[in-house]
Amino acid sequence: MTSAVKPHSELLRVTDLHAYYGESHILHGLDFSLNRGELITLLGRNGAGRTTTLKAILGLVSRRTGSIIFNGQEILNLATHKIPHLGLGYVPEERGIFASLSVEENLLLPPQIRSDGMSVEELYEMFPNLAERRKSQGTRLSGGEQQMLALARILRTGAYVLLLDEITEGLAPVIVEKLGEVLTELKKRNYTIILVEQNFRFAAPLADRHYVIEHGHIEKVIEQADLAANMSMLHEYLGV
């Protein structure tokens, strides 16, 4: 499955990952890996376990077993609040903008984890709408602006591995297009990205590899080059 991986550049390797919320067993032995600078997608139906995969990496599930090696280090038993400091940034489903914080406070909230993150000025240049509305309450922004804020927020911290959950959900096509441009730019800057995405047309041209998740395990891996040949099968898996 991961024969193309060059060991020296491997950044994340997930092996036999099981995750639980209380009594419910969500992930059933997930395996995948990711090299530095790659963008992969996790595809699948609602409830297949894509969001849980991101949460399990971040330690946000009640129990997990298996192995998650990040940058050569086992992070399965690391305290949740220490994991992001290794270089991970998270954009949760529905963006997670804090209503009790202003736009600027939202932007400045996540602690800096490396010194080479983007500066606030740089981010305001990238997302000018945020600069204009920096004093507004975070949730007063439009859906698209909130999504920009959720992205900007983790780019400031110096995270170089981004876990993005459904960032195009409920957004107008022109905003989705803008997000595509942002991701292309981030890829150019050598960010490593895991994209959980429902909008396959958005994800397809950006990704190096696609993982189809079903019932909490990887059902299929599709390299970007083989995408065209696998389209009909994908449609079946995703039910689109």
């Binding site: 998270y90 804090f98 009790s100 406070e105 909230l109 983790i154």
Partner: protein
Amino acid sequence: MDIFSIPSQVWFGQLLIGLINGAFYAVLSLGLALIFGLLNIINFAHGAQYMMGAFLAWIGLTYLGINYWVALVLVPIVVGITGVIIERTMLKHLYKMDHLYGLLLTFGLALVIEGLFRHFYGVSGQPYSIPDSLKGGTNLGFMFLPNYRAWVVVASLVVCFFTWYMIERTRIGAYLRAGTENPELCQAFGINVPLMITLAYGYGVALAAFAGVLAAPIFQVQPLMGSNLIIVVFAVVVIGGMGSIMGAIATGLALGIVEGLTKVIYPPASSTIIFMIMVVVLLIRPAGLFGREQ
């Protein structure tokens, strides 16, 4: 000058008493609101922790010769540390459970703490004299203002404002607000939420102890002084809205004054007026005056 044929001195006198009670309500309900917001725990031990503040000040003065001003700084720290220990050893196991468990545990703690002080010091009140520098009073022309009581109001307001500023205007406050709203996401950003929760509980408890030290020279220092007060403070928090900082401060002060003035207009209602307001507020705005609907 009489209003409703009641001398204005009586009005001002009750206004002052109301303002002082309101100041205590504000500091105590502020701590409760802070704790509830971040820990989801209804801290029933708050009254006992307030009593501990007053008692430790008295013990410090009586046995160790620690004066009022030192006690005002030292006692909240000591009681705050006991709060940190309680949070680390007991409360932290309850966060994922129903509110009822936290309420039961802290209620039990209140009984144990009050029981211990009753065992060692009995139920009769201990006097704590007003520090020399605040003895006496000032004649304002329309009324006589005891200096210590003025100090209590000022000190409470300063502490309330300081706490509000910390929470609403600083980076640590942004962590606190974000942690109240979505602790999981804060963890995912690398914020040490468990540590923040411990410190918030310690600070809330220290606020109660601070109010206790302020109260020592005004009320009798006795083991049940907190349980008499805390029921009213809970009503204040419910009226203001659980988890709202400004709401807790404003409601505390306003209700203290309302209670004081009721004593002039219709004394029999003075001990129930706050609860009557609570009923009306709950009927009209179930989330409280400053609370957000869930």
